[in-house]
């Protein structure tokens, strides 16, 4: 992509800012004393009737946090939803089991009831509000006046860390999971900050002690779906928030896109939409850095789905856009959801060939990479790809995942089967180290701080639920460190669900500073939980059945763990040739037969060819050691990287699938394109599901369910039920850790992490 001069100057300024600010990035020093913490599972991206979800906030939060009725209950939860507007009153519930004192069930007023038919159109603010208006409520109003109140109410009632986020409809791109937490859920002892805005009257029964005004303002100012010009006021008046979206140090009213009525940037559509939108989003980063540097996050989600960046539309993200965001606000734009939700949909993650119409000569464009790869987008799944390119610069850019819950597809919300989404926590689980010295209920700030550090791993299908990933320096002589000492540290951390705190050792998201010649002792301790996971399917995994393994779908076994290493060579310079680069689109990457090109066709800016698998541990090779503890069996393994001379990072991935499983993994254990299990093109389906069952509903389904797609004409298994939808997801499980950086004195500085 070619940047215009102004864009380059913005990007340069952003990069300079990032470099000078490197000293204040809040990632912890490996050797600093750490507060106590635990890995806790949460979700930041899901939908309710506040936007386009199928169920109420109350039902989703119950489904996502209940540890008994829905046993996948999460430890913390961020309720999100798209920006823009919505017409359903999302404080209403489906039935009496979900009612709360402040929000009782009203017969005949379920969650599909419109705002106009419940609170009345006269309560709707902003452009199009009032009686005779559009009937929609701007999301800034529902966030500020309704959604936050319900969330804080449930936080209090359930005594769980629940707060509010947003899946922003991004100017210049598709979507991002984000939040501004300022004002939300005041901790015990903090002053209450109830909503106090002229013209505000409570629209529900709960008067919150905190507020989500900062998030509401961000939604008004920077979400592409928010075209309101009211400044957050009652329609046609100056009564209300009177927001001004100016960014300190930016052009603001001097920008051609500035709308003086709205007091925000409203870029014109048409040619250059993508570039103009991207510039607005970089302004959003600067606003967050200026006002909420440690109280916000910005995580592009399913970022490969909408294709590559489109200068004339609102599509995907190329690596230069991720760099621009991270440069502009390193403490805010610290990661991506390259493992999308929608894991049970016909096209896993809703990624598919020819998905996006770019118009003109570009025509139909695939999701980047065409499909997901073992459920993860091509940016995160290809060793040496976009994520490794970001890590190869030494950036704080972390791998995160979320459910993107909307609905169950062909099934009702209480069915265990799905042809669309999994509930938050049911399939993907994002484990974040959150520190709380008091042991009190976690606060939004503690959770966001945890996410920012990168001390986080992601696991699907409960493949693993505990992980200690440790790197320690060992020097010849008195500074020597044995495998046993590091393994003891890691085992203690894993059994306590905590991390290590030892000099000259580091864990995920941290950097270990060493002298040249140090040997790095890399130890992993993981728990593959015993018993069944949350899958409702008890029949043998059809993918593994291809290679003669008989393993129930709901009792997956970790097959192996790969240790991946890449070298760190420093930040790319904005405007330089290797700062930008679009991943090869369409059949230049994913061919119609499901095979892919290799990194040789990927632009230099979007890859890190030094990244490779340096060690594989597996039960078959007997190079990990099972350790029985009172808390289950843990797998312990160690690899020593000999005398290091260059800065580098190590990261992990693991799976239930051995190498060379047809249509799932290649000979080197890499995930293949999910084209072969995506029901969107039944001619490509390849893995038969043949187990005949007697129980085909409920939570112990013992045969291939009826909703699986039938392979179409052209497939070698045409006419047979094939692995697809939720069965495809449960068959193919992966975990990904975030990296540990190793900075070698005299070599490249790992500038993104302190």
């Amino acid at each position: 992509m070619e940047f215009k001069k102004r864009e380059i100057s913005l990007a340069v300024a952003a990069a300079m800012g990032a470099l000078t600010l490197a000293a204040v990035i809040a990632s912890p020093m490996a050797t600093a004393a750490k507060a106590a913490g635990k890995y806790v599972a949460g979700d930041i991206h899901n939908h309710t009737t506040c936007s386009d979800g199928a169920i109420s906030m109350q039902k989703l939060i119950k489904k996502s946090t209940d540890k008994t009725e829905t046993p996948w209950g999460l430890d913390w939860f961020v309720q999100a939803g798209h920006g823009g507007n919505g017409n359903r009153n999302c404080s209403l519930v489906e039935d009496a089991t979900l009612e709360t004192p402040a929000y009782p069930y009203v017969v005949g007023k379920g969650p599909t009831t419109t705002w106009a038919n419940s609170i009345g159109a006269d309560k709707l603010k902003g452009d199009g509000g009032g009686v005779g208006g559009s009937g929609n409520m701007w999301r800034w109003q529902s966030i500020q006046e309704v959604q936050y109140q319900v969330v804080e109410h449930l936080n209090s009632l359930k005594d769980l860390p629940i707060f509010l986020g947003l899946e922003s409809v991004v100017a210049g791109h598709e979507h991002t999971s984000m939040s501004v937490i300022a004002g939300q859920v005041p901790a015990a002892g903090d002053a209450a900050t109830p909503l106090n805005v002229p013209g505000y009257t409570p629209l529900g029964g709960y008067v919150a002690s905190g507020n989500a005004t900062a998030l509401a303002q961000w939604s008004y100012c920077f979400d592409r779906g928010d075209t309101d010009t009211s400044r957050g006021n009652i329609k046609g008046s100056s009564v209300g928030n009177n927001w001004n979206c100016a960014v300190p140090g930016s052009l603001n009213e001097g920008d051609v896109s500035w709308n003086s009525t709205a007091q925000k940037l409203i870029p014109a559509g048409g040619t250059g939409t993508g570039n103009k939108g991207h510039n607005k989003t970089v302004e959003a980063m600067k606003w967050m850095k200026a006002y909420h540097a440690n109280g916000s996050y910005y995580i592009p989600t399913h970022l490969e789905r909408a294709g590559p960046f489109n200068a004339d539309g609102n599509n995907g993200f190329n690596i230069e856009h991720l760099r621009n965001f991270n440069n502009a606000a390193p403490t805010v734009a610290f990661g991506f959801e390259t493992q999308p939700g929608h894991g049970a949909s016909a096209n896993r993650g809703e990624y598919q060939p020819n998905r996006n119409n770019f118009g003109g000569t570009a025509g139909l464009v695939d999701s980047v990479g065409g499909t997901t790869y073992g459920g993860t987008g091509v940016y995160g799944s290809v060793v040496g790809g976009v994520w490794d390119a970001m890590l190869g610069e030494g950036r704080n850019y972390w791998f995160l995942a979320s459910s993107d819950w909307h609905n169950r597809g062909s099934f009702g919300p209480d069915d265990r089967r799905s042809t669309q989404d999994f509930y938050p926590g049911e399939y993907q689980r994002n484990y974040t180290m959150v520190r709380s010295s008091t042991g009190a209920k976690l606060t939004p700030q503690q959770i966001v701080d945890g996410m920012r550090t990168g001390n986080n791993f992601v696991s699907s299908g409960q493949l693993i639920d505990r992980l200690a990933f440790v790197a320690c320096a060992s020097y010849p002589g008195p500074g020597a460190r044995s495998n046993a000492t590091v393994e003891a540290l890691a085992l203690a951390a894993a059994t306590n669900n905590a991390d290590i705190d030892a000099a000259n050792c580091a864990t995920m998201g941290e950097k270990l500073v060493v002298r040249p010649g140090a040997e790095i002792v890399v130890t992993i301790v993981a728990r593959d939980p015993e018993g069944a996971n949350f899958s409702p399917y008890t029949f043998p995994n059809p993918s593994l059945k291809q290679i003669g393994l008989d393993q129930p779908l709901n009792k997956p076994v970790l097959d192996h763990i790969d240790v991946i290493r890449g070298l760190v060579t420093g930040y790319k310079t904005p405007g330089a040739a290797d700062y930008s680069g679009e991943w090869p689109r369409n059949t230049n990457w994913l061919r119609t037969d499901g095979t892919t090109a290799d990194l040789s066709v990927v632009p230099a800016g979007a890859k890190n060819t030094s990244a490779s698998i340096i060690k594989t541990f597996s039960g078959a090779a007997a190079n990990w050691t099972p350790v029985a503890t009172a808390d289950g069996t843990f797998l312990k393994m160690t690899y020593r990287i000999p005398a290091v001379s260059a800065s580098q990072y190590v990261r992990l991935r693991g799976t239930n699938l051995p190498a060379a499983v047809p249509y799932e993994t290649d000979a080197n254990g890499n995930p293949l394109a999910d084209l072969y299990t995506n029901a969107g093109d039944t001619t490509k389906l390849r893995i038969p599901c043949t187990t005949v069952g007697t129980v085909l509903t409920g939570d112990a389904i013992n045969g291939c369910p009826a909703h699986l797609a039938t392979a179409g004409v052209g497939s070698p298994i045409a006419g047979q039920k094939a692995v697809s939808y939720d069965v495809a997801a449960w068959s193919d499980l992966w975990f990904y850790s975030n990296p540990i950086y190793i900075q070698v004195n005299g070599s490249t500085q790992v500038a993104g992490v302190q």
Partner: protein
């Protein structure tokens, strides 16, 4: 019961048939145009009567069935029957949803929604499935079908093998040096790890490594490390053992074969039924993107 012709009880007089006594219709009533108009009117009336009895898209009937379902759901959730006010509210909810459903269909919001398309396909397939009638099966038919599909049941030759993985330099020279070391006693796990494969059939090897690599591996001496080339580069491989093919025993598998035969017959009939339905449609193929690209390159 056989049909019979009975004679009218009342005697007919000859005058009844007398042309001179017939009613004299006006001449215009004998015009073909008049007959055409009358016939048309009658057809219109009959059509209106029939259509009027069918669903009027602007009429919503809240039937007793809907009331009963609403009562059951309410009772299941609340433990008692709804009172009249609550029932009225339930009807209102149903009605609101029905209005939304009809308006949605009218506005064609179902178009382009893959979830709805899949659901409709699924339901129509269920309709077709309901009409599938399997032919009678004898042991001979089943055995013949088993023999024709024996490849599905025979256990193929299976190979146990392993790969000693290098990281970094994986050039031919590096792999050859590593293989020499392996054959001299270096453990397979000495470098990036040892991948162990058990019981993999020929087809799996071809799919994952390619035909030439497979041929070379299958021909390798058991227990000896070899340098083999696949499409992605050089590998250090060792063939560990070969398990001979085992022909399937029909008698032992008869139950599974019966189920597979049923599935295959049902699939055949299902496909035939869909093909028959497809004959109602005129199918036109537009030039695909791939074809266009190829044309452009040429």
């Amino acid at each position: 019961m056989p049909l019979s012709v009975t004679t009218p009880a009342v005697p007919q007089t000859s005058t009844a048939l007398s042309p001179t006594k017939r009613f004299n219709f006006p001449g215009w009533m004998r015009e073909p145009l008049f007959h055409f108009v009358v016939l048309g009117f009658l057809l219109f009336a009959v059509d209106q009567f029939i259509v009027g009895r069918a669903d009027d898209p602007r009429t919503i009937i809240v039937s007793a069935d809907i009331d009963n379902e609403a009562k059951q759901i309410f009772k299941a959730a609340r433990g008692h029957e709804p009172n009249p006010d609550e029932l009225e509210s339930l009807r209102r909810v149903w009605l609101d949803n029905e209005v939304l459903y009809r308006e949605g269909l009218a506005q064609q919001v179902d178009k382009g929604d893959s979830a709805i398309r899949e659901r409709v396909i699924f339901k129509q397939l269920s309709v077709i499935d309901a009409n599938v009638k399997l032919p009678n099966v004898s042991d001979k038919i089943l055995r013949d079908w088993f023999e024709a599909n024996r490849v599905k049941y025979d256990v193929p030759v299976r190979y146990d093998f392993q790969e000693a993985v290098l990281s970094g330099d994986t050039s031919e020279a590096a792999v050859r040096a590593f293989v020499a070391a392996l054959n001299a006693g270096t453990p397979g796990d000495a470098k990036a790890g040892l991948r162990i494969f058990k019981g993999r059939p020929h087809s799996n090897l071809v799919q994952s490594y390619g035909a030439d690599f497979t041929k070379a591996l299958e021909a390798s001496p058991i227990g000896e490390w070899r340098v083999l080339k696949a499409s992605d580069g050089w590998h250090a491989m060792q063939l560990v053992s070969i398990a001979a093919a085992q022909p399937a025993d029909y008698a032992a598998l008869r139950g599974a074969v019966m189920q597979d035969w049923r599935d295959a017959m049902a699939a055949e009939q299902r496909s035939a039924a869909v093909r028959a339905l497809a004959k109602k449609y005129k199918v036109k193929y537009e030039e695909s993107r791939a074809v266009k690209a190829e044309s452009a390159e040429q």
